[in-house]
């Protein structure tokens, strides 16, 4: 066990300074965007960190264009569906990989790793042609499918690590206590794997939400264009307006679901949930 660090004033100060540096480094660009989104058109380029005159006009503008609302809807729908499918499939695959010996297990793990390493940009053109042939270009399934493909290796890897942490004896104990294999999974293994499932869900959701490459290449209209791609086509209220303010506002808006998603699931990611299962 690690020894508990002594809280000397010097140590506290050092850590506080380090933490402040990290937080400032990470948050400055975000705050800058936030600041831009509240600035009026005239003060946009004044270089002041805190807006001199505040306005909510940018936010009002983006919600008045149907483009943005439609893109937001696409983003939420596509990311949620892809996350759900990838996590469910990933859970089952990871459980099998962690618990069972079956022929081709190594090959399966190897192939999923290969997919994760494959440069996505080189797949864009073939995917474009395939999706046009299949008639799913510029539709939700057209984006959900590649997202699942690239999210699955990620979710299988994180989840199988979590499953390996769960003592196998718990499953045996459940069987001895009279549980069917399905009951053992549902009542004992699944609750213990929940932190892993939520962690994976967050990672997969962020991956789908932030994707730009597929979103820009495999869509052509508002039918399936997600927010990262839609931002590219932002023009402001008219074609001649500088879109910086509205783009910033949209960027702020699309970070909100991610923050909510993380906050909502974070409470469920309780570290050390398995402590006390075995041994003393």
């Amino acid at each position: 066990m690690a020894t508990v660090a002594v809280r000397t004033p010097g140590r506290v100060t050092r850590w506080t300074i380090v933490n402040v540096i990290v937080v400032v480094y990470a948050l400055t660009p975000v705050l800058w965007i936030l600041s831009l989104s509240f600035k009026t058109k005239d003060t946009l380029t004044d270089g002041s960190f805190i807006p001199k005159s505040w306005t909510l006009q940018n936010y009002a503008d983006i919600f008045q264009t149907t483009d943005f609302l439609r893109a937001l809807l696409n983003s939420i729908g596509i990311a949620l569906i892809a996350t759900l499918i990838a996590v469910v499939l990933g859970t089952m695959a990871a459980y099998a990989i962690a618990r069972l010996e079956f022929p081709g297990k190594k090959a399966l793990v190897g192939i999923s790793l290969l997919i994760a390493m494959f440069p996505q940009v080189s797949l864009v053109s073939p995917l474009f042609n395939m999706e046009r042939g299949l008639g799913i270009f510029d539709t939700w399934p057209g984006l959900i499918l590649p997202y699942i493909t690239f999210a699955l290796p990620l979710s299988i890897y994180t989840l199988s690590a979590f499953f390996r942490e769960i003592p196998w004896e718990l499953e045996k104990a459940a069987k001895m206590d009279g549980a069917t294999p399905a009951q053992a999974f549902r009542k004992v293994i699944a609750p213990l794997a929940a932190p892993g499932v939520f962690t994976t869900a967050i990672l997969v959701f962020i991956f789908c939400w932030n994707d730009f490459l597929f979103a820009i290449s495999l869509t052509s209209t508002n039918a399936a264009r997600t927010v990262p791609a839609a931002l590219q086509y932002f023009t402001g209220a008219s074609y001649f307006d500088d879109p910086t303010g509205t783009t910033s506002a949209a960027a702020v808006v699309i970070t909100i679901p991610i923050i909510l998603f993380v906050l909502f699931f974070q409470r469920r990611i309780v570290a050390g949930l398995t402590s006390g299962a075995v041994k003393g």
Binding site: P167, L170, A173, M176, V188, L192, A277, V278, K279
Partner: protein, 393 residues
């Protein structure tokens, strides 16, 4: 409450390795039976086959006269306590203990009553609402026991349930476990590698080695009449002394000196058609400080003088260790036992002999001592196959 019968039960892994070979014994209703042996002897595999967690390759397992080979663990109605306790960490103590009853669809009032009764028996009432993570090792062990006893199963299976506790608690839990089993009267199969637990807990002990049953019997019987070298060396602490010896015309020539076989031993040896070269086994308590005995008491044995290497005074007894010259007794069984206890790597010239002397002995470390031994208590083994040549039922 059940009778369990293992009828030539065999476990063979797909790679051909034989883990358990034709294990054949009956466990009477309410009996406390111990499976003991060094690690890798197949005792846990046997237990898992009774539980249904591992398939039986050949043979038949019957519970209450019914073949259960193909039944899932949940349909065999037996409870198991694991070495790691395997408590469900996301459930409170109460939920852990109620889990088997909930799965059996018992109604809430009964569940409550049964859990509370079990908690009272195991002194867990004040911990019912805590999570396993906040309990001490001994408390966790008791929760694991509680989860087994709540549903009054046909039998308990225990896989080294005390080996994760510290020494003092282990002794304490051992007695309460024994009391609990007597009180409930439930058939119990208990796996351990600790011969002390085997001796103190069991009605009968099954000694396993390399998947083969070596001997089955009451602890006292195994101690006094081991069937072979392995059982003789495994049961008893400190373990039996083994020395090379030769037999000739009713005389034994050993590092302890030359002495005559007693009538009882000679009859057994003749009946067993013993070879010339044998291994002589003698337990530490069959030695005594010769100065403490009168001539009449010494008549049935031999005496020899030895140099005491180490003397351990336990208060009630004294253990004197000395080395006798000559070769060590060698056999495959003894090598295995040495490997299991980790003493195989200790370099030794000559054989070490441990003797238990009475506390009144004036033996001192580094000085010579005249030691008497009881010639009627010696056991002779065949070095080729380890068989006890002086074995009697």
């Amino acid at each position: 409450m059940a009778e369990i019968v293992l009828d030539k039960v065999t476990k063979r892994y797909p790679d051909g390795a034989l883990a358990v070979s034709e294990v054949d014994f009956q466990i009477a209703d309410g009996e406390f039976i111990i499976l003991v042996g060094p690690s890798g002897c197949g005792k846990s595999t046997t237990l898992n086959m009774i539980a249904g967690l591992e398939d039986i390759s050949e043979g038949e397992l019957r519970i209450d006269g019914q073949r259960v080979n193909e039944k899932a663990p949940k349909d065999r109605d037996i409870a198991m306590v694991f070495q790691s306790y395997a408590l469900y960490p996301h459930m409170s103590v109460r939920e852990n203990m109620a889990f088997p009853l909930r799965l059996a669809k018992v109604d809430d009032a009964t569940v409550r009553a049964k859990v509370e009764e079990a908690a009272r028996t195991l002194d867990l009432t004040q911990h019912l609402d805590r999570k396993p993570g906040n309990l001490s090792g001994g408390q966790r062990q008791r929760v694991a026991m509680g989860r087994a006893i709540v549903r009054s199963p046909k039998a308990f299976l225990m896989d080294e349930p005390l080996s994760n506790l510290d020494a003092k608690l282990r002794v304490q839990m051992r007695t309460s476990l024994s009391k609990l089993q007597k009180q409930l009267g439930t058939t119990t199969v208990y796996v351990t590698h600790d011969q002390t637990e085997a001796m103190t807990l069991g009605d009968r002990v099954v000694v396993l080695r390399n998947g083969l049953v070596q001997q089955i019997g009451s602890p006292q019987f195994l101690y006094e009449h081991p069937a072979n070298l392995f059982v003789a060396g495994f049961i008893g602490s400190p373990s039996m002394n083994f020395l090379p010896a030769t037999l000739a015309e009713g005389q034994v020539n050993s590092p302890l000196g030359q002495f005559a076989l007693t009538d009882r031993v000679r009859r057994l040896v003749e009946a067993a058609d013993a070879p010339r070269e044998v291994i002589l086994g003698i337990r530490p308590e069959h030695f005594e400080d010769a100065h403490l005995l009168d001539e009449a008491a010494k008549a049935g044995g031999g005496t020899f003088t030895a140099h005491v290497d180490v003397l351990e005074s336990m208060g009630s007894d004294k253990y004197a260790y000395f080395t006798v010259e000559g070769d060590q007794a060698t056999s495959q069984e003894l090598e295995e036992l040495a490997a299991d206890s980790g003493s195989a790597d200790v370099p030794a010239s000559g054989s070490q002999v441990v003797t238990r002397l009475s506390a009144a002995s004036e033996a001192a470390e580094g000085s010579s001592l005249e030691i008497w031994f009881d010639a009627d208590k010696i056991q002779l083994f065949d070095p080729a196959n380890g068989k006890n040549l002086t074995y009697t039922e």
